[in-house]
Symmetry: C2
Subunit: 344 residues, 2 copies
DNA sequence: ATGAAAGCGCTAACAG
DNA sequence: CTGTTAGCGCTTTCAT
C-alpha cells in the first residue's frame, strides 16, 4: 500500500480511504490512486485490515459433506450473496465423528470469521452452547434451534401435505421411511415423521408403528429388509412415503425388481425434489435449498451488521407437492386395497 | 495471547512457540501454557499470524458451481487433506461470465491464500497469465494446462476404452454426444472426443461428423433434436457414447419413451460413474473425483512448501470401464445392424 | 529455554 | 479533503 501511496503521491491513509470507497476523497486524487493501484496489481490484505477492524470479511460454513445435493445447491446460491457483499466463504467439512470432536474442541473458526452457518447438523445442547462462545453470529440452516437464528423449511407441513395427498388418493396403509444419518448427523427426520402422523390423525387413520421404518441412506441391504418387513405385514402398505428422494428411488427400484408395479400396486412419494426425482418421475415434496442458502446468506450479513443481536430470527420456507407418476389412486391398481378386488 | 501469557506466567513469545509446537519449550512450561490457552478458549488469530509470516494458512479454490457431482466429491475429499495440514479452505464460486470477469479483474485471492486450485474451467491464455501474477502456486484441476501443475484424469484413454468396448461389442455406427458448457465453461469434452476418434481410427471405422452431436447439458429440447437427427440418418447409430452420465441418462429416457429398447436396439455408454449411473444400470467410464481432490490437495500443500517452483507437476489419474446393463452386443438386439436381421 | 523489542500492512482517531 | 500517529495480535530476530 505504501508503494501505491508513493506512486500516487499521497499518503497511505488516502489510499486506504480510496480503496474502501469512502466519499471523503477528491475525485482527482481518487483517480490517481486507483490508477496506481491497478498498475501495481495491488489488492488490500484482508489479514492486515482485519487486524485493525476486528472483522475478517469472511463467513464460515460448517457442513457434514459437500457431496450432497442439498449442500451443493445451498452453497451455490449462498456464495453470490456473500460475494456481492465483498465477503469470502470458508468451508469446514466435518465428515465424521473424529473431525466433529476436533472441530468443537478447537473451534478453528474463532476469530477467523464474522459469522458461522451451521448446516444440517443434529447438534447436542453442549455443542450449541459451545458455538455460542464463538463471539460471532451463528445461524442454523436446515434445522430449528430454539432461541437461535435459523433458516429451514417447514418439514412438518411438507410431510403433512404429502401424506394428505396419499390419503386423498384413497390410501390408508401408508408406510413412512425415515432416514437415520451416519454417526450422529441427522436431517429433518423427526419433523417429517411428525407431519406424517399429524395427517393420519386428522384423517382418523390409526398410527401403526409397523409402518414406520428407519434406515441409513444408501444402505441397500437395510432397505431391502425394511421393505420385506412391510410387504409381509398382514395388511401391507399401499403407499410408501420416503423422507428423502434418494430412498424413494431405491424403493421404486426394489419394488419393480420384485415386479410390484409403481404406482399401480404401490404408490411412492419422496421428499426434496432432487434432479433424480424428475428422472424417475417421482412424486415428491419439493424444497428449495437455493432459497435456503440465499436466505441464510442474507440473514448472516444482517446479523453481522446488526449491533442488536437480541431479536432472534427464524426464517421458515415453504415446501410444495410435485405430483408426478409414482403416486396414483388406490383403486387404479390391482393390489388388494380395502374393498379392492384381490389379484393372483 | 497476552492474557494467556499472563495467566501462564510467561512471555508472549513463549506462548507463541508453544502453540506452534516448537520444540524449544520446556515440558512444564508447555503444560502451563496449554492449560491457560484452553481455559481462556484461546485460538490464534490467523490474521495476525499471517501478517508477519506472510502465509495465510488458506487454500482457495475456484469452481464454476458447487452444485455438481464432480465438485462436491472432489471438494469433500480435498477438505480433509487441507484440514490435516491445518489449512483452511475458501471457495470462490464463479457461476457466470460477469462473476468471472470480476474475479479475474480483481483477483480477490491475491494475498489472501497460499495456493489456488482452479477447477474445470476452460481458461483463456490471458486468464492463465493473469493467475500467474498471483504470486502463489496455481494448480489446475480436471484440466491440463501446459507448463503449469495440473491434476486430471486421462480423458483420451477413457474415451478410447469406452469406444473400444462398443467396437468390441460389434458396433460400427457409434454416436458421440459432446457437452458444451454454458458461457465459456467447458469440461474435458475435446479430449474425450479425441479418444473416441482414436478408437474408431484404430479399428478402421471411418469418422462421420453426422454421428457427433454437441449440446448443453440439461437442455432437454436440444437433446431431443440431436437424437432426432441421429435416428433419421440413413445409417443410424447402434450405440451412443455420451460424454457425461447425466446426458447418457437423458438419452436412455428419450429412447425408451420412443420405445427404442436400450440396450437391445441401441447401446448407451456414459462417462463419470455418478450415482445416477448405478440407478439406471448405465455402463460408463468411471473417474474418481475424490481421488482428484485428494491429489490436488496434496499437490497444493507440496507446492506451498516447495521453495523450488520449477518442476512442474502433472498428475494424471486413470479411468476404467464399468460395464452395466446399457451396453450389449450388436446382434443381441433386433435393430438393423450390419448383417443383423431387420425388424418391423 | 525464555524474554524484550521490532515490525508485518493496514485502519482509525486526530490534526490541520 | 488529506497527512500523521498509534496501534491491531502476532512472530521473529537478538539477547540472555
Amino acid at each position: 500500500m505504501a508503494d501505491v501511496a508513493e506512486r500516487a503521491g499521497v499518503s497511505a491513509s488516502t489510499v486506504s480511504r480510496t480503496l474502501r470507497g469512502l466519499t471523503t476523497v477528491s475525485p482527482e486524487v481518487r483517480a490517481r490512486v486507483e490508477q496506481a493501484a491497478r498498475e501495481l496489481d495491488f489488492a488490500v490484505s484482508r489479514q492486515a485490515a482485519s487486524l485493525v477492524t476486528g472483522r475478517t470479511g469472511t463467513v464460515a460454513v460448517l457442513v457434514p459433506t459437500l457431496n450432497a445435493w442439498f449442500m451443493g445447491s445451498a452453497l451455490s446460491s449462498l456464495a453470490p450473496v456473500l460475494r456481492a457483499a465483498g465477503m469470502e466463504l470458508t468451508v469446514y467439512v466435518i465428515p465424521d465423528l473424529a473431525e466433529r470432536t476436533s472441530f468443537f474442541d478447537r473451534l478453528p473458526a474463532r476469530r477467523n470469521a464474522d459469522a458461522l452457518l451451521v448446516f444440517s447438523f443434529d447438534l447436542t445442547e453442549e455443542e450449541t452452547d459451545r458455538l455460542d462462545s464463538l463471539g460471532m453470529p451463528v445461524i442454523y440452516v436446515s434445522q430449528h434451534v430454539d432461541g437461535r437464528p435459523s433458516v429451514y423449511v417447514d418439514d412438518v407441513a411438507g410431510a403433512l401435505h404429502g401424506t394428505r395427498h396419499l390419503l386423498n388418493l384413497g390410501h390408508r396403509r401408508i408406510a413412512f421411511i425415515k432416514t437415520v444419518g451416519a454417526s450422529g448427523f441427522s436431517f429433518s427426520s423427526n419433523e417429517r415423521l411428525l407431519g406424517y402422523q399429524q395427517a393420519l390423525a386428522e384423517a382418523g387413520v390409526p398410527l401403526d408403528d409397523d409402518l414406520v421404518a428407519a434406515l441409513p441412506v444408501g444402505d441397500q441391504r437395510a432397505l431391502t429388509e425394511a421393505l420385506g418387513r412391510l410387504l409381509s405385514l398382514r395388511e401391507p402398505p399401499t403407499a410408501v412415503f420416503a423422507e428423502q428422494d434418494e430412498v424413494a428411488v431405491a424403493v421404486i427400484r426394489a419394488l419393480r425388481r420384485t415386479r410390484i408395479e409403481v404406482p399401480e400396486q404401490v404408490s411412492v412419494l419422496g421428499f426434496d425434489d432432487q434432479p433424480v426425482a424428475d428422472l424417475f418421475d417421482l412424486s415428491t415434496i419439493a424444497q428449495s435449498p437455493s432459497d435456503i442458502g440465499h436466505e441464510a446468506g442474507r440473514l448472516a450479513l444482517k446479523l453481522i451488521d446488526d449491533s442488536e443481536p437480541d431479536h432472534t430470527q427464524h426464517i421458515v420456507l415453504p415446501t410444495h407437492l410435485i405430483p408426478r407418476a409414482t403416486t396414483a389412486p388406490l383403486h387404479a391398481g390391482e393390489w388388494e386395497g380395502d374393498g379392492g378386488s384381490p389379484r393372483a
